[in-house]
C-alpha cells in the first residue's frame, strides 16, 4: 500500500477523483430509484398475490417476460451495489482492527459478487418456457 499523504498538496496529487463522494452521491440516487423499484416488486409479489402461492411455475412464468427481466436486472444491480456499499460503511464504522475489516469486506464483496452473477444468470441465461423440455432433453441427449 502506498504511503498515506501527509499534506493537502500530497492528498490532492494522490486522489484526483473523490471516490467516497461518488459513493455518497450514488447511495442517494440509487436509494431514490430503489424506493420505486422495491415497493413495486413487493406489491406485485407479496401483496397482489398470496406469497405462499409462489412456486417454480410462478417464477418461471414471470422470468419468461422480457420487461420482468429488464426490471429485475435494474433492481438486482442497484440493490446489490447499494446494499454492499452499505455493509461496507457498517464494517468500517464498527470494526477497528485493519485485518478484521479487510477479511469482513473480502467476504462480503466476494459473496455479493457471486450472488450478483447468480442473479444475472437466473434472469438471462435460461428460457423458462422451455426449461422443462430442456431438462428432459439433457437427460437423453447428454
Amino acid at each position: 500500500m502506498a504511503a498515506r499523504p501527509r499534506t493537502l498538496e500530497q492528498a490532492r496529487a494522490t486522489y484526483d477523483t473523490n471516490r467516497e463522494l461518488a459513493w455518497w452521491v450514488f447511495m442517494r440516487i440509487s436509494g431514490f430509484l430503489l424506493i420505486f423499484l422495491v415497493f413495486a416488486h413487493i406489491f406485485f409479489n407479496n401483496i397482489q398475490i398470496n406469497v405462499a402461492t409462489v412456486d417454480y411455475a410462478y417464477v418461471a412464468q414471470r422470468l419468461s417476460k422480457a420487461w420482468v427481466k429488464v426490471y429485475e436486472s435494474f433492481l438486482l444491480g442497484l440493490a446489490m451495489l447499494h446494499g454492499t456499499n452499505g455493509l461496507r460503511y457498517s464494517i468500517e464504522d464498527y470494526f477497528k482492527r485493519p485485518s478484521t475489516r479487510f477479511w469482513l469486506k473480502a467476504v462480503v464483496f466476494t459473496v455479493a459478487a457471486a450472488l450478483f452473477v447468480i442473479g444475472v444468470m437466473a434472469l438471462w441465461a435460461f428460457s423458462y418456457q422451455q426449461m422443462g423440455d430442456a431438462i428432459n432433453a439433457a437427460g437423453h441427449g447428454g
Partner: protein, 120 residues
C-alpha cells in the same frame, strides 16, 4: 451508547434495517437463483420451507424494514439537498414513522389473515 435525540434513533434504525435488508437481499437472490435447477430442482422445496408461518412473519418485518428504510432515505435526501431539510429533520422523522405505519396497516390487513389461514 450516546443518548441522542430523534436524529440518532433515525440513524440507528436506518443502520439496522439497512444491514438486515442487505443480508436478506443476498439470501433472496440465492434462493430465487435456485430456479436455474428447473421445475424438479430444489426451488419448490426451499419455498415450501419458507412458506411456514415464522418466515412469513419474517417477511412482514422485511417489508416494514423496506418501508422505513426507503422513507427515511427520502428524509436523508431532503436533509442533504434542500436548505430546509435539516431544520425540519425531527418532524420529518415523525412523518416517516407515521407514513410507515399508514402503509403498514393495509399490508397487515392483507397478509396476516393469509398467514393465519395457513397453507396457501
Amino acid at each position: 451508547m450516546y443518548r441522542g435525540r430523534e436524529g440518532q434513533w433515525a440513524f440507528v434504525l436506518h443502520r439496522v434495517t439497512g444491514v438486515a435488508l442487505a443480508l436478506y437481499l443476498l439470501l433472496h437472490v440465492f434462493d430465487v437463483g435456485l430456479v436455474m435447477y428447473g421445475p424438479k430442482g430444489p426451488f419448490n422445496v426451499f419455498l415450501a420451507f419458507y412458506h411456514q408461518w415464522p418466515f412469513r412473519i419474517g417477511l412482514i418485518l422485511v417489508m416494514a424494514a423496506v418501508v422505513y428504510h426507503g422513507l427515511n432515505g427520502l428524509r436523508i435526501i431532503l436533509m442533504d439537498f434542500t436548505s430546509w431539510g435539516i431544520r425540519y429533520q425531527r418532524g420529518l422523522w415523525y412523518g416517516v414513522l407515521a407514513l410507515t405505519t399508514v402503509i403498514g396497516i393495509p399490508i397487515l390487513i392483507k397478509v396476516v389473515p393469509e398467514i393465519l389461514a395457513g397453507k396457501a
